[in-house]
């Protein structure tokens, strides 16, 4: 499991988890779940096109996911946002279906693109993934405060000169870049579980932004490592484990929050020294 040919998988998967944890935190905060879902799924088209014309998959993924981000942003101005996202997504998938019908790719390879493949990572991919991942994290951290402000209080952010629409576009582009590097590991259909499961769990444990983000990265790392180990042992698709563990994280987070809420209610109901102040734990942003 830790032999030579698996080494690059572990390295790439770890980078992927860190990026997903950081970006995913903002996905959850901004409620951008649909966009975060649609961009990777649409990016699948890029991979299909790349294999058709014979260029590097990563380039195809990057171009398609950027096109998806810009398309959602452009069509979103015309009407309802969720409708725009859905239409851009299916338009790209329809194109993907066309490319697939042209290519002579075997079914297992298409399957790997959609649902992930443990052995789908070669050593030459580490450098581009590391560069792209680093770029995503750096941009997110540079924009940490304005992004946080525009996510939580759009009006206040606007008053301070943070342009909501521009912030949205930048965020979608970062999301697209993160997508294109994550896709080969978890597959087009399940990156998204990695992006929202761990941050959602982290947010129910702490409401302070930075610790929540660090915790989200930590949980994402564990999810990815467990998924790869399990996929290696069973030969089942990585996507299955990522999707299931993502849901487990979310359920655990919800359970933890519910437990704490009940305890704080009980503490505040009790008279005496322990129940004096307001239950700080139940106050959340």
């Amino acid at each position: 499991m830790f032999s030579g040919f698996m080494a690059s998988t572990w390295e790439v998967a770890s980078i992927v988890a860190v990026v997903a944890g950081v970006i995913g935190f903002f996905v959850v905060l901004r409620g951008a779940a649909f966009a975060a879902d649609a961009i990777p799924q649409g990016a699948f088209t890029g991979a299909a096109a790349a294999s058709l014309i014979g260029v590097n998959t990563l380039i195809g993924l990057a171009v398609a996911s950027l096109a998806g981000a810009l398309g959602i942003s452009w069509l979103g101005r015309r009407g309802r946002r969720d409708v725009a996202t859905a239409l851009i997504l299916v338009a790209m998938l329809g194109l993907g279906a066309l490319f697939l019908s042209f290519s002579s790719e075997y079914a297992p390879e298409i399957y790997a693109l959609l649902f992930g493949e443990v052995l789908g990572v070669s050593a030459t991919e580490i450098a581009p993934v590391a560069i792209l991942g680093g770029l995503c994290v750096v941009v997110t951290l540079l924009l940490f405060r304005p992004l946080l402000l525009s996510s939580l209080m759009p009006e206040l952010a606007e008053a301070r000169g943070v342009r909501a629409r521009r912030m949205e576009l930048v965020f979608l582009i970062v999301l697209a870049l993160a997508t294109s590097m994550t896709l080969p590991v978890t597959g087009a259909l399940l990156i998204f579980s990695l992006m929202i499961g761990p941050p959602a769990a982290a947010r129910s444990v702490t409401s302070r932004p930075l610790p929540a983000m660090l915790l989200s990265v930590f949980i994402a790392l564990i999810v990815v490592w467990l998924s790869i180990a399990a996929a290696y042992q069973t030969n089942w698709p990585v996507g299955f484990f990522v999707g299931t563990l993502g849901a487990v994280c979310y359920a655990a987070g919800r359970g933890w929050a519910a437990l704490r809420r009940r305890r704080s209610v009980r503490a505040s109901a009790l008279p005496g020294p322990s129940g004096t102040g307001a239950p700080a734990a139940s106050v959340r942003v």
């Binding site: 309802r80 299916v90 079914a107 299955f240």
Partner: protein
Amino acid sequence: MTHLLHLIVEPGFFSNAPVRSALLAGGIVAVVSGIVGSFAVLRGQSYAGHALADISVAGGSASFLAGVSPLWGFAGVGVLAAGVMDMIGVQRPSGRDLATGIVRGAGLGLGALFLYFDTTHTSTTGATITILFGSLFTISSSLIPVIAAFSLPALGIVLVLYRPLLLSSAAAELAAARGTSVRLVGAACLIAIALTVSLSALTIGAILSTALLIGPAATGLRLTSRPGLAMAWAALIGLAATWLGVLLAYDSFYWGSARHGWPVSFFVVTLILVFYLLSPRPVRRVPD
């Protein structure tokens, strides 16, 4: 005259049995999708519709393992997932997308596993493509009554609950004050969406069925602000896109020399997008 007709419609289009089944099945599904989809768009449940479509992959792939028609799997798992989504609070606007996404991830993960079993334990290597991208031309005529039977409950739910659904979509508080159980109506609507999506998963594929659900409905709602009329438009646009898609896919066998047909789903989805882009901006501003 015949020659001119053959320029548009390649010979044998109307006498071909798979084409007739495709036109009939696709037509039924398009009409149901347009009507039910209008509620999905009005209620802002595009994402829920998309997630249900993705989740139904698990059902489709499981039914390949069991050796029954994928429709049963699509519909069974879709309705089940709609129940789970409703249970964990998809109705509440805050965190709604998050809960939807989590259910979708878990469901699709299961779908990945079943597809893996399909391709390794049975000889159906084409299952992945069939389930995800659909194949309207392979629908046998014996399946059409089943499709019609599945359409009835989906249409029935939205027609019986027409007024409470509209009211609770537009003004939930008002509906609740009038004694409508907003929660129950919402759950019923979600089930209707699940049934509809499972039907379109059969015709244009699980991950593309969002197109039939959302595209024509969104276009219809841009054309008029009257809900009933918008639904009629949506059904008509869906029908036009599906039938034109079938025609173009049939014709595409004769394009070039390769004798290689382009997928129906590609044409249907592209036509739906074109219709949406061509539709004029709504007169009344639609609140985001």
